[in-house]
Amino acid sequence: MSTLLNSRRFRNVAIQAGFVVIILVVVVSAVIIGRQNLQAQGATSGFAFLHRATGFELGFSLIETGPFDSFGRFLLAGLLNTIFLGMIGIVLANVVGLTVAVLRTANNGALNAIGTMYIETFRNIPMILQALFWYALLTSLPAPKQAYHLLDLAFFSSRGLYLPGLNVTGAAAAIFFLLLAAGVVASVCFSISRRFKSMPNVRRSRIRWTVLAAGVLLGIVALAYGRVPDTPVLSIPELRGLNIRDGVRIPPELASLAIAMAVYGGAFIAEVIRAGFISVGKGQVEAAHALGLAPWHVFSRVRLPLAIRAVLPTLINQYVWLFKATTLGIAVGFADFFAVVSVSISQAGQTLELIGILMLGFLVMNNIIAFVLNRVNKAIALKGTQLRV
């Protein structure tokens, strides 16, 4: 017996078996207790509730939803809202981040100071506080009748921001943006793929722009196809009675979250990109200057690409983290995935199933983001080991 205990292999197997048994016991007892509790409440488990009508309404939805639609459709709407908000937030945060990073690495003391002031202010305040602040600010704008306006084209009121748009169906707009994104992604993929590196540069550039143009053109065709009949092409918001009609309405819930993501996330992304700028070798920039590149080209062709390549892995983590921040929607009343799930739990009572759907949703979405961006990272990373000077 003692020899058996002293055998390393036996001990390893025993420890691992014990570990597995403990996990199994925890999981099985949780399932048993959960089932008992459900039976005590007379609730049925299962996913049949997904087809039931919800009886509540969403404040914001990209697809049409009403109280008679099913829980499944509401969850889908919430998921789309989360993806929509996440994309807007991440793009805006990148714009803010890049700008602030450029300010902080600029060769000018005043710009550095502005960048530092921005970062120290907004990075040190919780994002939920910032979202609540922007929400309070946007909802305390004047009522539609006294709304601020820009040349009567855009209105800023407590009911939301009204911008001019096109008279097209929502589906057409969605397809337009999808095609646009597909065009951009395809042309970027083509540019960074190693398979086409041997092609002459002129041909590569021609193909790149053709792919992009095809995406845009197909998108425009989709827009033309999805036009609402018997209406003017442009939909301009205007004040009629007590409310503003037409145009595209951006509700304060969506706008406040997007601003908070841009401001707070931007501060973090700025620091990451700044680190990237600093990591670009001095010799690279000097060589670019010596070759006679214009300052803009030194920035766009040498410093920026090298900086992004250096920090992309860190940036990916920031994007995933920022995407998770969309769950703050519940604090300001935006119908994001988490908010829809939590309302559904109180309405349908299927706590375990809905939490499972919630977790699975975020698991899948975040892993897709990480997977895609990691592929991009792999494609643009330096191959092999090399000395960086």
Binding site: N12, I15, Q16, F19, V20, I23, S29, A30, V31, I33, G34, N37, L38, N107, N108, G109, A110, L111, A113, I114, M117, E120, N124, I125, P126, M127, I128, L129, L132, F133, A136, L137, S140, E271, A275, I278, S279, V320, K324, A325, T326, T327, L328, I330, A331, F338, S342, I345, T351, L352, I355, L358, M359, F362, L363, N366, N367, A370
Partner: protein, 366 residues
């Protein structure tokens, strides 16, 4: 660490010389640079002046009759709302006569946190002793039930003390958990390493809100009744778990950055696994992982604000309540600024301390 180290080397590479010389180089080297400087400084001066005018010059500081009447039609900030409602913001729903206890409890935790920043306490035993003692003191003050102090249940805790309590408890429980997870993920036993890795990755890709929500609402469903406990403890455990998975990855990266020879040499000397881990690996790994650890502490403090969503009355929620009732409803800017200032003081001092530590680390004093 690498980021700020490079930043420092860049800073050192800047032209040295007289102050005038440096100013000229950084602000007025070329005409374009000069004009950018002038415009930039003007914008900054305008922003700072406007804020100063609003917050100090035109502000109303107190309300003689306790109503919002003094703030009608003023251009500046109405700090009178803070003057009237500060007890609500700082203490939440804590019973009025007992709020001195909440104050002492909060001070205890802050003092313990400051003490643990002093190098004298940087021994695992001293640090653990300090925190356990501080936490026991904190808990007996806030919860009461001894020495003639009436018992105050967790549902009445609130305000800044609740925020600090959440943070301290979360980090205190999360840290040992993080070490366990990091060691388990690096275990030589494949089943344990893979399972832990999977667990860490899954929890990391979930938003914190969903974990807090699960802890508050779902756990009572699947736990045996003697384990359910109070909602506040379940949420703290969830919070600690979320902190732990991130911290575990930080510790793991610290361990992996150690040269392999360290562990091999320890093995060759005949040290057991626990001796190797506690005497050789972890002390060095912690030193290497210090900058991201401080960073994680900073982020975690800001994340305590999320417990508002689960219905706790922390400093953010009590701030919302302070302007929520009709009379002061116009004063949301002032209240949010006040709460933001509180967070700013904590977070900023923590991150400055991190910068100081990194500096010490670079000159090899740690």
């Amino acid at each position: 660490m690498t980021i700020s180290a490079t930043a420092a080397s860049i800073r050192n590479a800047r032209p040295r010389g007289s102050l005038g010389n440096r100013l000229r180089k950084r602000y007025f080297s070329t005409p374009v640079n000069t004009s950018i400087s002038v415009v930039g400084l003007a914008i900054m001066a305008w922003v700072i002046w406007t804020a100063f005018e609003w917050a100090v010059l035109n502000a109303v500081w107190r309300s003689p009759d306790g109503t919002s009447q003094v703030c009608r039609g003023i251009d500046g900030a109405c700090w009178a709302v803070i003057n009237v409602r500060w007890r609500l913001i700082l203490f939440g729903l804590f019973p009025f006569e007992e709020q001195w206890r909440s104050t002492i409890a909060c001070i205890v935790i802050v003092v313990v946190a400051i003490l643990s920043c002093v190098p004298v306490f940087w021994k695992p035993v001293r640090l653990a002793g300090l925190w356990v003692a501080g936490f026991a003191l904190f808990y007996s003050f806030i919860s009461g039930g001894i020495f003639d102090m009436p018992y105050v249940g967790p549902s009445e805790w609130g305000g800044l003390t609740l925020t600090v309590f959440f943070y301290a408890a979360g980090v205190l429980i999360g840290m040992p958990l993080a070490i366990c997870l990091a060691l388990m993920r690096r275990s030589e036993l494949p089943v344990i390493a893979v399972t832990t890795g999977l667990f860490i990755d899954v929890v990391r890709s979930l938003p914190l809100v969903t974990i807090l929500f699960t802890a508050a609402l779902v756990l009572p469903f699947v736990l045996p009744s003697f384990l359910i406990g109070d909602k506040i403890w379940r949420v703290i455990i969830g919070f600690a778990l979320f902190f732990a998975v991130y911290q575990a990855e930080i510790i793991r990266s610290g361990i992996q950055s150690l040269p392999k020879g360290q562990e091999e040499a320890a093995k060759a000397l005949g040290l057991s696994y626990w001796q190797r881990t506690t005497r050789i690996i972890l002390p060095q790994a912690f030193r290497r992982a210090l900058p991201p650890t401080i960073n994680q502490f900073v982020i975690t403090f800001k994340e305590t604000a999320l417990i508002v969503i689960i219905g706790f009355f922390d400093v953010l929620a009590s701030g919302k309540a302070a302007f929520g009732s009709g009379e002061w409803s116009f004063a949301w800017v002032e209240v949010y600024c006040f709460v933001a200032m509180i967070y700013f003081v904590f977070v900023f001092s923590l991150s400055r301390y991190g910068v100081y530590l990194e500096h010490r680390l670079r000159v090899g004093k740690l």
